[in-house]
């Protein structure tokens, strides 16, 4: 049976030979760029645009790409059930844990790639938007690089979490709907009712990682640790479930 690097190569080939990769990258860039531009344009006072808080507020939008890779990660795993390709996949690699491991690796690479591309896109858009308001984007500022580094961690971990979730819930539509509903609705309810509890949830942890200036969030480092735990938990449960169930 093939070794893990070979399987990672095969999973990457799967990703490249559908429209998933070509859809994920531009969508992530467009969403995060729109958020960054909107934040700059809607800032009340052009004079305070270069303040640390404002820079963090603007660049936190770069992390929007995480939602796109979350969906892409789910599709990477659950999509095989949707189209029936999972049969050929498991006939080739009956040790299914290896397939999940390879998918997790490809998810991480995809998340990192999306993080890099959206970060570059955000810097370019922010530079242009700042200039339009007669301000200079503080590219040399440590805040900027801390936020962008956070974006890479956020998108990478969310992509891994998506693969784990898609391995656990093999109905792609259900998994995507549940994930987006969780982010858009459930966590907000938690925040509204008990923000002390809410900050430990995955999306809020992600907001902490990209240094969104909100008071209830964890520190970036703690957020990273919490999100990494979620990603690892979903990856493990997804792999275990996948290994034993009937196809």
């Amino acid at each position: 049976m093939s070794d893990l690097p070979t399987l990672v190569g095969a999973e990457w080939l799967k990703l490249r030979t559908t429209r998933l990769l070509h859809g994920t990258l531009p969508t992530a860039v467009a969403i995060s760029a729109a958020g960054v531009a909107g934040a700059v344009v809607s800032a009340d006072d052009a004079g305070s645009l270069t303040s640390a808080r404002q820079v963090r507020d603007v660049l936190a939008w770069t992390g929007s790409g995480a939602l796109v890779v979350l969906v892409a990660g789910i599709v990477l795993a659950a999509g095989e059930h949707r189209h029936g390709t999972v049969v050929d996949t498991y006939l080739t690699t009956p040790r299914r844990g290896r397939v999940v491991a390879a998918k997790l690796a490809v998810g991480a690479v995809l998340g990192l790639l999306v993080g890099l591309v959206t970060a570059a896109g955000s810097v370019a858009v922010a530079g242009a938007a700042y200039a339009a308001r007669d301000a200079t984007f503080p590219l040399g500022d440590g805040e900027v690089w801390a936020s962008l580094a956070g974006t890479l961690a956020y998108t990478t971990l969310f992509a891994v979490l998506g693969v784990g979730l898609g391995s656990l819930v093999r109905n792609q539509v259900t998994a995507v709907t549940a994930a987006l509903a969780w982010v858009a609705v459930v966590e907000h309810i938690f925040i509204a009712l008990a923000s002390g509890l809410g900050r430990w949830l995955p999306f809020e942890a992600g907001q902490a990682i990209v240094r969104t200036p909100l008071d209830h969030l964890l520190s970036p480092l703690a957020g990273t640790a919490v999100l990494a735990l979620y990603a690892a938990a979903f990856a493990l449960v997804g792999a275990r479930t996948t290994a034993t169930r009937d196809i």
């Binding site: 049976m1 799967k14 559908t18 390709t85 080739t92």
Partner: protein
């Protein structure tokens, strides 16, 4: 060699496969026959590591599928539940299989050529007909040049020319000394090509036999007056049966012997012939599957 031993697979309270045992030896096309829902696909899923048996074993070359060192080089399988990503091309589907299995990508062109898809291979599978997808599935199965071929209803969606082509593939593969097992709910599709049949119904084994071992073909005779011949056959102790259409079926006697008996009985033979193996197989199949297998 495929060996199924006391295989049982239950889902909740429903037993889909019930203490099933049979073997499919190399060098033969083994037909796996039974009505829809008899448990053929479940058996294959257990055999191929896609479902866990509740009890018993399903082995390929003495090992469970999950323990095969190189599954794609050992077994080629086409299952009804397998599918293709609609936006991936046929060639890319095979590239993915070859890559994951560590197979030489050079074989992809030959496999596409073999199944007659060379011209369409670079188009997205989403626009393909059922028959083309079936051919692509067979190409994926043959890609690893496997010693064992397992096919579930391979003729589905194929036109008559395609069905004929599948039969040729099965024959060639078996004549090459490989193990070929093909499931079908339609006897007519595979009757011409099988060397051996395993017939199941309600998850249980109905029959397992080589075609060569089927009950000797019977001789059918028509005469102007049946009574004297029936009397002569009875007196000679020959196993026989008066068929509904007035013909008499005679077991264990050659046509010339039956003709001689008729002459001695003083009746005139109007028709004399030997029934074919296919008819014996069909009789067995209909008998075991309650006649609803067609």
């Amino acid at each position: 060699m495929i060996e199924i031993r006391d295989l049982t697979k239950s889902y909740g309270g429903h037993t889909a496969v019930d203490r099933l045992s049979f073997t499919a030896p190399p060098g033969k096309v083994t037909g796996f026959l039974g009505p829809n829902g008899a448990g053929k696909t479940t058996t294959f899923r257990c055999l191929l590591g896609l479902a866990r048996p509740s009890a018993g074993t399903a082995l390929i070359g003495g090992r469970p599928y999950r323990d095969l060192a190189a599954p794609r080089r050992t077994v080629g399988a086409v299952l009804e539940s397998s599918g293709f990503h609609p936006s991936r091309s046929g060639r890319d589907h095979l590239r993915v299989v070859a890559r994951a299995a560590g197979l030489d990508a050079a074989g992809i062109g030959a496999a596409l050529e073999l199944v007659g898809l060379a011209g369409a291979a670079d188009r997205r599978v989403g626009g393909w007909s059922l028959g083309m997808r079936q051919r692509l599935g067979i190409a994926a199965a043959l890609l690893g040049d496997p010693a064992v071929l397992v096919l579930d209803e391979p003729s589905n969606g194929l036109d008559p020319e395609g069905v004929h082509w599948v039969r040729q593939v099965l024959r060639r593969w078996a004549d090459d000394g490989r193990t070929v097992m093909v499931a079908s709910h339609q006897l007519a599709e595979i009757a011409q090509v099988v060397d051996r049949v395993v017939i199941i119904r309600d998850g249980r084994l109905g029959a397992e036999t080589d075609i060569a071992d089927l009950p000797a073909a019977r001789v059918t005779v028509r005469v102007d007056r049946t009574e004297p011949l029936l009397g002569a056959l009875g007196a000679a102790g020959v196993d026989h049966e008066l068929l509904a259409d007035g013909a008499i079926a005679v077991a264990d006697r050659a046509p010339d012997e039956v003709g001689a008996l008729a002459a001695r009985a003083g009746v005139t033979v109007t028709e004399l012939g030997r029934s074919r193996t296919g008819e014996a197989l069909e009789a067995l199949f209909l008998d075991l599957t309650g006649g609803n297998g067609r």
